[in-house]
Amino acid sequence: MSGASADLVAALAALRAEAEALVGAATERDVLQRLRTEYLGRKAGRVTAILHDLTSLDLEARKVVGQAANKAKAAIEALLDAADAALAARTLSAAADLTMPSRHAFRGALHPVTLVVDEICGIFRDLGFTRVTGPEAETEQYNFTKLNFPPGHPALDLHDTMYLGPGTLLRTHTSPVQVRTLEAYQPPVRVTIPGLCYRRDAWDASHAPVFSQIEGLAVDEGVSFVDLKAAIGYFARRFFAPGVKVRFRPSFFPFTEPSAEVDVECQICHGVGCPVCKGTGWSEIMGAGMVDPAVLEACGVDAERYTGYAFGMGPGRIAMQRYGLSDIRMLYDADVRLHAQFVEGR
């Protein structure tokens, strides 16, 4: 045996040992497929290459190396086949135990407030409301003045405001978008307005300096308090429960008159009275009212011809009630242990 053929035979043995180790370690059938190409590939396989190069050897050496190469090739092939069959069998046998966990991708969840906002806007869409938004940085004009907050009125105390500059601020409610919409479109206007609002409230279990709000606005000829009650009643029965009781109580907002707070029957005790509803049997869900004529006039809408209603609610608070979240901070923590529970179809 010449030196060259001895070297080649040794190389073949090394290749075989190497392949043996790699095949043994493989846990996936596609890894085996890759190894098959690497060692036995028709063009560039490392064992195949030695077989291709036999022509450069003398006849004796060609015979020795050729045999060794074919043997190595057969051995590696057998190893690969066996390993492949074993892996296939493992998959099959596991499939027989269908109680084993499924294979799935990561599943993401919408934020609970998004779920609530989309549901609310969806219900009002059925009443002809489109969905609009507006800027979060606003002017005092849009946030207060045009909404009939007289300068220096104590009602401003309820809106502890973060200012950006003289006359500019972070909106304290989504109502400025009512004004922007009425300035841009002549009635009939029916819109829902979701968005973030800002108040200078320190963090605690029920306060955050940022919170989401949804407002609704309907302005047209002949829109009345009866229409407001009908729309809110329809919403409450779809959102909360089909037969839910709803009540309107007098309240005050500078931009509506008559103004009302809307309560639904407490969903915990169903009106009997419990600690959650402070024994009243009702829980407050929104503020509402007839758009104040001063607001319509400020927006360039003829308040003698057109009337309207508006309402506003806090989807964060509704989400907390609905999903039993005890602390508003949970909405902003992005704790994956919480959010994983909102994966749909979980």
């Binding site: 998004t114 002809g128 969905r131 841009a184 009866v226 009650k229 729309a231």
Partner: protein, 787 residues
């Protein structure tokens, strides 16, 4: 506003039931935030008559008493020094639980059984006195309920009064509302110990000057103080208040100070009239001047603070200096003390806006300023002063000197508002009968004159909120009852306002990202300055939240850092929200962004395979591509160093993806992320490409790329050289290592050739493929690696 049930009942002359009052007020004008029984738990305490007192055989300080409490005579051990035979005391029999939680049991005290307890004030929760038992000044039969003899049980309401209803900040105002629906008039209760005849009413002056008991009273600042009434009382004895007054104030949670302060507080809570008593002896002159503060003037207020005043503020001054900040707080110099005998009692109306500006400038809020800035009843001053004087004389003695003065330079005209029948029906949606509207408004104190098609309504002076027609419409709706309006769905016209297109885009992006396994987060748009462009908040709550975000990722990274300590390794979050940057105008420029941050494995771990590898920058790139397709169509991605940048066709950078800096524990995987502008897609929906009807032909090529040459550059050459027959191409492998030189890599592409209308011939494909490979070899300096 804190109100007492008993006080309201007295004003309406009928016992009211607590829960009914709560529900009534809620449906009428103001919700009751809380309702608390005070001195509850005394229902089973009765009047006990002590028949006999004997010394306890085994204890010096104890007595053995025989007590009649309506039934058999009971033996009671008593430790009070004041127990006297023949007198009546509150008695709690065995089985009764006292307000402090003590449950009385039959037990032996020093060898003698006690069948109950004679109680002190403290044991009944009525006061601090535990020195002796409470002697009852009554001849009620033994066994009579204690609460019948001493009616201290009450219910305290905390009422959430809206800022438009200052009239509800007193018991009379609340009673007026209840009376309007109950059909009962409001009558002030008689003051115990008051003289039969009321004191004389204040006499109104026509000009800004007046006088009472020789004290001149002048209004110089009629804008800040349209009306000022005053009375002088002499020979008053400052001392403790009688029990009835202390009880009443205690019922609304106010502490008793002395008879003068208590009397003014009583009038405040009863009539919404803030009063101020000056020690007349300490007023220079004596004179009262209502004027603007002088520049540089200071005053030490009752809270001991020295206040710097300015001419925007109204003060009450004597002949020399400011003695009170009008309607906010008095000064220490003229404060009533134990030695005071002569009082000047102020009963004024101050202009709400000026007063609000003053108290805000001084950084203070008092019971008085809270009411003045909302607007008290300017017409009630003479009657309120009369009530205050009668009360002070009853509890403090002394006499009224002269006739009180009412300085009111300009008469306050009553306001008249018209209410049209058809407008009432239009706004409320049903025709309210005119008689009902008239009745509702009259019950609230309006004077109503029916005219053709309308009511002419003179509104009461205590309702500053009733100025316009719509204000009256609300009043009618309230009194009729909101619940009386039907929930009737009537036809409506659809909105002319189009949907906000970015809302639709945002919704689709949410679908994409939750589908890719990211949870939606909502973070606070306020934080520390993370970028030079961050817009500051002028009055932040904390330095941690002093700036508006210019990007979403810094906030999201903080949320990932919140999850790591919870031992969560796979954290995948995204957010859609607004960012803020300085604009050219007064307002910042807002953009809607979408950002995502992911760390952990590339897929969830599964039992069938080893732990999947960790995410890297290509995961971020994949997320950015998927999102850009929806959120920012038309944006193209290009690599710039470690990051990948998304640009619009005209070059504006709108997003990026790459590794993220974070405070990462050793066990955590790398954190990568992306952020991109979310915008409405102006392009109309594109028609689909026809599906291929001929087979495609694949060709693979592996090329060795020198250091610095990007796959994108190679691909561009391959694509252009291969010509129109090349349908698509993609990378399917990359290899680094021996036998390639360091820095080199082999990248393998698959090219798919296809003609839409025919089957390609091998020769055509070979020609195009060969052209592409040759071109890339010569132009990019790559060499082909044989597979």
């Amino acid at each position: 506003m804190i109100a007492s049930l008993r006080w309201l009942s007295d004003l309406l002359g009928t016992p009211l039931e607590a829960a009914a009052v709560r529900d009534r007020l809620a449906m009428l004008c103001a919700p009751v935030d809380s309702m608390e029984a005070i001195h509850g738990g005394l229902e089973r305490v009765v009047v006990g008559l002590v028949l006999e007192v004997a010394k306890h055989p085994n204890a010096d300080r104890l007595s053995l008493c025989k007590v009649s409490a309506g039934g058999a005579v009971l033996g009671v051990v008593c430790g009070a020094p004041n127990v006297t035979a023949g007198k009546r005391y509150p008695f709690a029999a065995v089985g009764v639980t006292l307000p402090n939680g003590t449950k009385l049991e039959r037990r032996k005290i020093r060898g003698e059984y006690s069948e109950g307890m004679l109680c002190s004030e403290k044991e009944l929760g009525l006061g601090a006195d535990s020195e002796g038992i409470l002697e009852l000044d009554t001849d009620a039969a033994p066994g009579t309920p204690f609460l019948d003899v001493l009616p201290v049980a009450d219910t305290r309401f905390e009422i959430d009064v809206t800022p438009n209803r200052p009239d509800l900040l007193c018991h009379v105002g609340l009673a007026r509302e209840l009376g309007a629906v109950l059909g009962r008039p409001v009558r002030l209760a008689a003051i115990p110990g008051a003289a039969e005849a009321p004191p004389p009413r204040a006499v109104r002056t026509s000009g800004p000057r007046g006088e009472t008991a020789g004290v001149p009273v002048t209004i110089e600042d009629a804008e800040g103080c349209p009306r000022y009434a005053a009375a002088v009382l002499r020979g008053v004895t400052v001392g403790p208040s009688p029990a009835w007054l202390r009880d009443r104030l205690a019922a609304v949670g106010a502490r008793s100070i002395n008879n003068v302060v208590d009397a003014t507080n009583y009038v405040l809570y009863e009539l919404n009239q803030p009063l101020h008593a000056f020690d007349l002896a300490k007023l220079a002159g004596p004179a009262v001047v209502v004027r603007r503060a002088r520049a540089g003037e200071t005053l030490v207020t009752l809270d001991g603070e020295r206040r710097a005043l300015d001419p925007a503020m109204t003060v009450i001054a004597d002949a020399a200096s400011a003695q009170a900040v009008a309607g906010v707080m008095g000064g220490v110099a003229s404060e009533v003390s134990a030695a005071t005998t002569d009082l000047l009692l102020e009963c004024a109306y101050f202009e709400p806006r000026r007063l609000r500006a003053t108290r805000r400038a001084l950084g203070m809020s008092t019971e008085a300023s809270y009411r003045y800035e909302r607007g008290i009843d300017p017409e009630a001053l003479p009657a309120n002063l009369e009530r205050a004087v009668a009360l002070l004389l009853a509890v403090g003695g002394g006499r009224l000197d002269g006739v009180p003065v009412d300085v009111c330079p300009a008469a306050i005209a009553p306001r008249t508002v018209a209410l049209r029948d058809e407008r009432l029906a239009l706004v409320l949606g049903i025709a309210v009968p005119r008689a009902d509207a008239e009745r509702a408004l009259t019950a609230l104190g309006c004077v109503v004159l029916p005219r053709e098609g309308r009511l002419t309504v003179q509104v009461p002076s205590w309702r500053p909120d009733l100025e316009r027609e719509v204000d009256l419409i609300e009043e009618v709706a309230r009194i009729v009852g909101y619940d009386r309006f039907p929930e009737e769905m009537r036809p409506f016209r659809p909105s002319v306002v189009p949907d906000e297109p970015t809302e639709l885009v945002a919704s689709r992006v949410r679908g994409v990202l939750t589908g890719l396994g990211l949870h939606e987060a909502v973070t606070v748009p306020l934080g520390p300055r993370h970028d030079e462009r961050c817009v500051p908040v002028l009055n932040p709550l904390s330095q941690e939240e002093a700036f508006l975000r210019a990007a979403l990722l810094p906030g999201l990274v903080r949320r990932v850092e919140h999850n790591w300590p919870l031992s969560e390794r796979d954290v995948r979050l995204f957010e859609i929200g607004r960012t803020f940057a300085p604009g050219t105008g007064a307002l910042p420029v807002e953009e809607i962004h979408v950002a995502g941050a992911v760390t952990g494995g590339r897929r969830p771990r599964h039992w069938s395979e080893p732990a999947p590898p960790d995410v890297d920058v290509f995961d971020a790139k994949g997320l950015l591509e998927a999102v850009a397709e929806v959120a920012c169509r038309g944006a193209a991605l290009a690599s710039e160093g470690e990051r990948l940048v998304a640009r619009l066709p005209h070059g504006t950078v709108v997003g990026w993806a790459g590794p993220l800096e974070a405070d990462r524990p050793a066990w955590a995987a790398p954190l990568v992320g992306f952020e991109i502008l979310l915008r409405a897609d102006p392009a109309p929906p594109a028609a689909v490409r026809p599906r291929p009807r001929s087979p495609g032909v694949d060709r693979d090529v592996a090329l060795v790329l020198p250091e610095g040459l990007t796959a994108a550059e190679v691909e561009a050459v391959l694509r252009s050289a291969a010509g129109p027959l090349l349908e698509t191409l993609w990378v399917f492998d990359e290899y680094r290592g021996a036998p390639l030189a360091a820095g080199q890599r082999s990248v393998a592409w698959r090219l798919v050739f296809r003609a839409p209308d025919r089957t390609l011939r091998e020769a055509e494909v070979d020609a195009a493929f060969g052209r592409a490979v040759t071109e890339v070899e010569t132009r990019c300096g790559v060499r082909r690696r044989e597979a």
